[in-house]
Symmetry: D2
Subunit: 349 residues, 4 copies
């Protein structure tokens, strides 16, 4: 099969580094183009980058010359790890120039003509791209993946959607790796909890409604459920843990919900996309799981783990969910989106 | 004023050590009697105890000879830090023999004739002691304080009670010091979250209803509210953080709730009890507070801190609460209970 | 190539679990026999074991029936993860019965006829086995690997041996995973340092001298160097970091020492043993490496990382070393020992 | 006794905040003047400062108007918490204008006419101020305290000086609070060790020689000992732990060294200076102490704790030392220096 060249916008930042690590040895994609700020452009990637991730900088990336973030000779498929302060304009410039921009940035997520994808949950939202083309007049397109904590919540709620979700109260305990570098000061988080992450609760609440909602051919109908999020930072390296209370219209038994979680499959599984976990939601029976340090890295970080499903005196059901914030919640999410688009015929090889 | 001798049951364990540290330099109470298991009885306290708390073992305790846990020559006022596996029988033996047992153990908390006290919130539950005397035929009595996470929740909800609490969803992030010694294994909690604490959710749910309920002269009427708890262990040394979503019958503005929290006072404040915090619930305005490492030890660990009051899309209001689990949530709670009883004339000097 | 069946003594404990995880998918060895205490014997491995490691219990192990720790029908090649309190007798019983016991326990390490192996450093110590056979009259044999912190130190010093090591001062910062389960209490190590690990300093000092010494055909001549160890526990999950000051008879330039480290190879590399790292000692040029969380897991945990080589005003040279305590320092060390023996013809297939 | 007004240069930074907290309720000094960068000058202290320390900003400081860092109307006694990038010029301007500058900055520590004080160890170095006045022509003066890790080492070595210190190898495990704010990124230090702190080893080595050396009436004779430091950052909040191997000319028994540590007193104790610990070096007998989380805050953070004195096979003796890096190692050190100067008649009231 012919491989596809891909680029990364914001390639020298932390999220960009996660993209590069995730793309290493990808069976379909070759990372050949690194875009970054003018300050870095023209330098060797290994010189322009303070590699912050565990292990060594992939050799394939090290030698690339960093490019300015301008369309021109960039590959057709572009992943965006741009900072929100500049992503809007640059992503649109690439889309206008014919690139498919698969973005992890928040800027376009809530746009009425941009799909906010969790491929197992709402692959059919890709249908909105026709409207996007019509309205925007771009030769290319923009698709997005959700905020890291939203991914964990929506993956866990995906299997429950058919029972009629009406109310959700979620509390997150989020890892430090989600905050970039230098990110959270150690004086703030060592042996501590910070019960506030700027903008995070609003994102979780709105994005969840859009993802679990429907594209009605014309616009997104958000899920008619109220969602409340409490977002906290805890001293964990990778993996966002979420406690969830949920109200359902139907009142299935707990065993039925567990079965629904474990049996949940989507297009990525059906098409055996390379980054798709075999089982996207894995219910753990042990009474004290999932746990971030022990479970986050299983299934290459692409599955969401759930556990402790039990009765909630207030909303009916409650459980715990966990997912890898920089993999399933960021770089891996975007790459899976691109794989989905390719399998849907939305990207030429 | 004449000082009162006090004893501690389970004096060599972790909770017992917290009692001894908290009682050091107490203006009313002299710790003169240490009860522990037969294995320790007869030994010097300093020899029988592995002192696990920060700093050094108080000199006044070091030289005591550990006693068997039998009434006999023990002081009239006894604090119980007994392990739940043995507390029922021993506490009852002391009560029967005429001692006032102020217990931190869970065993009698939910008994229909035993007050479960948070002095600022439900001091009037002491009225149930008359019934206890009648039913049990004890010359003495047993009063209890709640589980450490319940204290934080009920102190924070106390000021809201008059608005009519109907539903509560709370998620805790609990410190390791709550689990005794050796308690939580470092392999379990270092850079991790454990989303399970055995029995904790049930305690928080039931105890909260009893504490916020009423003693109707005959029995306790639990608060007619549903309460759901998600309990998690996080790598924090002291201080339980709780995110709370709450539904109220009345719909006060957020400023009114903050004002209610800050203005909240109870008998301990009115009587200026020695361990009473001047302001029992302190609302912090900073957007990212309270935080356990930074706020737990303020006000000698006896106040509960709240913050981030805002609208909850599901239940109406949400906020964060924090309290010191081994002080306000254990030893300090019991000592405040004893001070309250003394000020109510329920203990002779 | 014919695969070899192997057993693990102490298979249900933490060290045993590390063996089982390390042996999963081993190209030469099949883990088919699990020995444990009488309490566990007869039960299914998955029932008898509280699996404490990240991820799930390997399926191949789960179904095994746990055996008593008696020779009989156990495989010829036995790894010992026995607790020191029982290892002496059991390991000797297996050796007497003809088994090759590759032990991680401390019991036989300093015996005058038992090789204490770091295969890259002192593979020729295997020659002592002839003496062992003669003296003990065993049909089998016992070989050992060092304590986890000793491995890191001796791997790092191995390349320097030819310059004449005369004095070594080493301070360790050791991970919690080295202490088993429950091991270190979280109250002891969270946001703390414990400057003491029972018996560790003596082990590091003595074992280092034996490993870097010579087998003279008759007995082990310890290296004529003084070694001083300061051992500390720090809140790190995996990976022991060691700061080393070393005095050498020759006074090579720092570049020569770095080159010696990077060029160091041994029999495991020459024979391409399956668990051998390609480059056993890897010098990292970055000014702030190696770091346990970032570097320990590289090279499958089998390499030792060094860095910061610079002048020591007292002993001449100083540097930092890091290795994976449960892999290179325990299970992986023993498996590499077994691979070495097989490649030396000391084990029949 | 008449109180003395004091100012703090760099009052809004982290070190400045430590000064302000330490000076709260000081029996001799009134903090009345806050100097900071031009950006902050003119604003209320509480507005210009992000208070990062535990607890609340002291009320006495909150209302001060921040001043430019120019002599003029500042108090005679000035503590400097200036950043090294600007301290040289500003501190000299204040000294020239007649102020006594008691500095925690590194800039003047190694100057040949500036005392680098640890009052218990080298109070007689104040004699160098006469030379400073003569050489510099300043109406005021500059005195300094050492780097935080140097304080711990020199306090612990002070009692051993009379035995003839010849060689020292020290490894530090330093708390994150020493690095300011935001300081160490949580991604760098959570569950990790960073074996490098820029410039720290050089400071420890040189400063120790100056402090333990002599002022010979003309210049400082450094101690004729070689000192080697390995400096590491560990995930601890407050308290630097140091392992020390030391060679002495005399060979006292270990009991004699312990006795020397416990009996060690200096001018601060003799004069009962308000910030002086009663016993400046406290040897802890427990086999696993001192520990930063448990011992750092004892004695108001002004004592240094030692433990585990034992034979070092290489240098003769080894032990562990611990001190509070932001108290005894910074703000408290400077305040004690000022108290010493006042008691020596070097400051008018």
């Amino acid at each position: 099969m012919q491989r596809i060249e891909v680029g990364v916008l914001g390639a020298t930042g932390m999220v960009g580094q996660h993209f590069i690590r995730f793309l290493e040895n990808h069976p379909w994609f070759d990372f050949t183009w690194a875009g970054a700020s003018d300050r870095s452009a023209g330098r060797k990637y290994s010189d322009a980058t303070n590699w912050r991730l565990d292990g060594a900088l992939p050799a394939s990336a090290a030698g690339l010359t960093v490019q300015e973030c301008k369309p021109g000779n960039a590959p057709r498929l572009i992943f965006s790890a741009m900072d929100a302060s500049v992503a809007t304009e640059i992503e649109q410039a690439f889309a206008a120039a014919g690139h498919t921009v698969v973005s992890n940035s928040k800027n376009h997520r809530m746009e009425p003509d941009v799909p906010l994808l969790v491929p197992e949950v709402n692959a059919n939202h890709l249908a909105s791209l026709a409207t996007q083309s019509r309205l925007r007049g771009w030769k290319g397109r923009i698709v997005t993946n959700p905020n890291c904590s939203t991914v964990v919540l929506t993956m866990a709620l995906g299997p429950l959607k058919r029972f009629g979700i009406t109310r959700v109260v979620a509390t997150t305990m989020q890892a430090i790796s989600g905050a970039g570098y230098p990110g959270v000061a150690s004086m703030d988080i060592t042996a501590n909890v910070v019960p506030f992450i700027g903008g995070e609760e609003e994102k979780m609440q709105q994005e969840t409604q859009k993802i679990l909602g429907e594209w009605n051919g014309d616009r997104f109908e958000p899920l008619a459920a109220t969602v409340s999020a409490h977002c906290n930072r805890v001293p964990v390296v990778d993996g966002h843990t979420v406690t969830v209370s949920v109200e359902l219209l139907e009142k299935p038994g707990e065993a039925a919900l567990i079965e629904a979680m474990n049996a949940f499959r989507g297009l990525p599984q059906e098409r055996k996309l390379p980054s798709a976990p075999e089982q996207p939601v894995i219910y753990l029976d042990a009474p004290d799981r999932p746990q971030p340090r022990r479970d986050t890295n299983r299934e290459k970080g692409m599955a969401v783990f759930t556990g402790r499903l039990r009765a909630c005196p207030v909303l009916g059901y409650k459980f715990v969910a966990l997912g890898h914030n920089t993999v399933r919640g960021a770089a891996g999410a975007a790459v899976l989106n691109a794989e989905l688009m390719l399998s849907e015929g939305l990207l030429e090889r």
